[in-house]
Amino acid sequence: MSDNGNLPSGKPRIDHLEMRGITKRFPGVLANDRVDFDVRAGEVHALLGENGAGKSTLMKVLYGMYQPDEGEIRLNGERVEIKSPVDAINKGIGMIHQHFMLVESLTVVENVVLGLPSSRGPLTDLDRASKRIRELADFYGLQVDPDAYIWQLAVGQKQRVEIIKALYRGAALLILDEPTAVLTPQEVNEFFDTMRHMVKDGHAIIFISHKLHEVIDISDRVTVLRDGRLIDTCSIEGCTKSSLAEMMVGREVIMKPYRAEVERGAVRLALQNVHALSDRETPALRGVNLEVHSGEILGLAGVSGNGQRELAEVITGLRQTTGGQILLEGESVTGRPPGELTARMLAYIPEERMKDGMIQAFTVAENLILRDHHKEPFSRSGFLLLRIIAEFADKLIERFKVKTPSRETPAKSLSGGNIQKVVLARELSRQPRVLIAAQPTRGLDIGAMEYVHARLLEQRQAGTAILLISEDLDEVLALSDRIAVIFEGRIMGILDCAEATPERLGLLMAGVESETV
């Protein structure tokens, strides 16, 4: 650390930032209830909590996006008010959002200086900015070409640009909101090296993540929020994944769900050399071969955007193939419409459940019959049998523990976890032969995640052939019998769960051929 209280970037350090007794109310909800939180220069302080625990609210207060109803913020011992994000940036607080805030058609340097005054008045000073970016990049090991266009960069590189953007603006305290969600395990490791480097140089970092092992890896201290209240702030030493999870949820959590022995059955779903285009008409699937057996979960791991979405859509009939064959229980169903596949007992939990799996304005009951509304017992001669639909809906709401005021409630007013339960209820109640589950727990909290996992394993035991498409490696590792890795529209390799490690999978996810693993 430098001694004069300044960072290597020449900007002043934030030695200690305290939030005291922060309370933030929203209509009907107490989002933060007298929360204390502090972070010091030279530490990574993790902020943990389930959806709705109040993490984002607390950080938005710190970043000036919300004003607290009660409580105060102290910067190096002095009371401050942070009125806006601009104010926060001026005080040395930077935030890296989960979704990148970059202009794709501009270069790195143009993005970095976006919104900043130029040292040359009305003329740009991109050359000076580039030099400065190179210095920062060299110092922190954030290799990136200042003149590259954002669209040319990989996800991990875009994240570096975001960090450089914050550092360039003199951030001494960085708020990182789920920064690892989009990275491969290798990229995560590199990213952690950068974080360690920054901390060593006197930065303070607040790290928000769902992934408990990452929190344990990188943090010095951890603060757990639940229901808007502070549960505990403690040193990371002595914390385990299960102790942290227990603090988050308030009860014991099964970290690794039990997978019963199930005899692997016949092949129910087979893909043979399947090709397909993306929405932009570029090749998305380039010869995919897969087989999913009855009674097994085949996990499909991969970094986002390597063809997972297209694969799910091709199998479920929502996207046309441009080559190859798809076999359902030995019969070719290539190019068949979704309705016919539904009739063949193919179920699908779509990635974008709000957009693809639900009609938001429809009631819970109407959504539950989306697949089978035209069949007995829900309708006869074209008329809906409302009483039977109501009974069916009530039964599923109870069986799948959907929290909804009634079956007549519009789906859009349910929480994400409950919407997913409605989708699960609809798809699983059909007793599917084959189930495609795409990102089934994305955005869900631990409780809902446990629930979804238990249901998937239940289906596996019932003999369903399950293709689990997930970007969450922990999930894939915990549930799958075999794991296939997709990279640029090709299956890089298929590993048995016993031989799959995050490292091996990570290499495959990065496109390294399996022979060399």
């Binding site: 909800v29 989960q98 769902h210 929502l318 979704p338 957009k355 509304h373 976890g417």
Partner: protein, 387 residues
């Protein structure tokens, strides 16, 4: 997370506020009409007429006597029929501006049936003619439907174009192939068809011009309600209208149902045209424009449907009110001696206000939803989000 939310008191005030906005939403179209009338009052003042007396005349014209009420209902009937079709189309998220043309084509086909089968008994011909009207409108609505579903032609444009085609077809047919033979002999050549036999007239419901069409329209309103909310077809039309992606996923043929929605929508307008011929005019006559025959019901029906919140049952009082406005305005014009252009402007004002109030209502709804989601996001879904 859902059961462990810190549910700070959802106060009675919040509930009250929610109810208040619901009531406000329902009253909004009424307020819009009042606003239109207020501007109409300013115009009346500028024309040198007393607005109070003028609107008094309007009320009297619409409701002042049994005959006036009957006239109001006669005017409301095509509005309701067209409005029912609009409910179906808008629920399926297709915009049908082609009510005028669909009415014309429905009327032409129905008239053709009536004039061809003059020797048949009325109880056979009238239902046949109504069916012909239904089919004619369906064809005229179905064509833009197919264009939209399979060739991505914007239905607003195509339905408007189809109006123009229908009018010219009508003008051609009434001047030529379908012209009243008597007109040919007289050489006056008024573009109109021969009168329908008396046996083919829709029965009157009272010693007024009120005819069976009004009854048919109300029964069909209930029918459309059943169609939309009690049948698989209605379920699919609404599903496709709300979310085509999820509908596709649910195995619903999206394009097919886009066509069906527009086709049904046109069919109801066609039926409106047929009831106008068989219930009111007893022949087709043209002044060269569609309005001359439809009285703009093809457009005003849209307003009536919006006025009724796109609910077929709501469309009944909405059409009645709108019919009252039209009938009353005629009386107003006769009594106050204001130019007839005033009535057209008043009509236009109401359309503009009701339609924009509906747009405003939707935006408010969106804002409310967004605000609720922001609060919920802050409190409920804060860290998760799509990774």
């Amino acid at each position: 997370m859902e059961d462990r939310l810190p549910k700070a008191e959802v106060s009675a005030l919040d509930t009250l506020r929610a109810n208040a906005s619901k009531i406000a939403d329902a009253l909004l179209p009424v307020l819009a009409v009042l606003a239109a009338l207020a501007i109409g009052a300013i115009i009346l003042l500028m024309l040198g007429a007393n607005p109070v007396a003028a609107y008094g005349a309007l009320l009297e014209g619409a409701f002042g006597s049994g005959n006036a009420v009957a006239e109001t209902i006669v005017k409301a009937t095509p509005l309701l029929l067209v409005g029912l079709g609009i409910c179906i189309a808008f629920r399926g998220n297709v915009i049908n501006i082609g009510g005028e043309g669909q009415m014309v084509v429905g009327a032409l086909l129905a008239t053709l049936v009536g004039l061809r089968l003059t020797s048949w008994p009325g109880w056979v011909v009238v239902p046949l003619a109504m069916l012909a009207g239904f089919v004619g409108g369906a064809i005229w609505g179905g064509i833009p439907g197919i264009l939209k579903a399979y060739f991505r032609v914007n239905e607003i444009l195509s339905t408007v174009m189809m109006n123009a085609i229908a009018v010219q077809a009508m003008n051609y047919l009434l001047r030529g192939p379908m012209i009243d033979p008597a007109q040919m002999e007289l050489a006056s050549r008024i573009p109109q068809t021969a009168a329908l036999p008396e046996a083919f007239r829709l029965p009157r419901l009272a010693p007024t011009r009120l005819h069976l069409g009004a009854f048919i329209a109300v029964v069909l309103a209930v029918g459309v309600y059943i169609l939309l909310w009690r049948t698989t077809l209605g379920y699919r039309i609404r599903a496709v209208g709300q979310n085509p992606d999820a509908s596709r996923y649910g195995g619903i043929r999206v394009r097919h149902h886009v066509v069906v929605a527009l086709l049904l929508s046109g069919a109801f307008a066609g039926l409106a045209g047929a009831t106008q011929v068989f219930g009111v005019n007893y022949r087709m006559i043209t002044d060269g424009s569609a309005t001359g025959f439809t009285g703009s019901a093809g457009f005003n029906g849209i307003v009536a449907a919006l006025f009724g919140q796109l609910h077929p049952i709501g469309a009944i009082p909405a059409s009645f009110l709108f019919g009252a406005l039209l009938v009353g305005a005629n009386k107003l014009q006769r009594m106050m001696q204001v130019p007839s252009a005033f009535i057209t402007s008043l009509n236009g004002l109401v359309v503009v206000f009701v339609v924009s109030s509906d747009i405003w209502r939707r935006q408010r709804q969106k804002r409310r939803l967004a605000a609720a989601q922001r609060a919920a996001e802050a409190a409920v879904a804060d860290s998760g989000g799509p990774a």
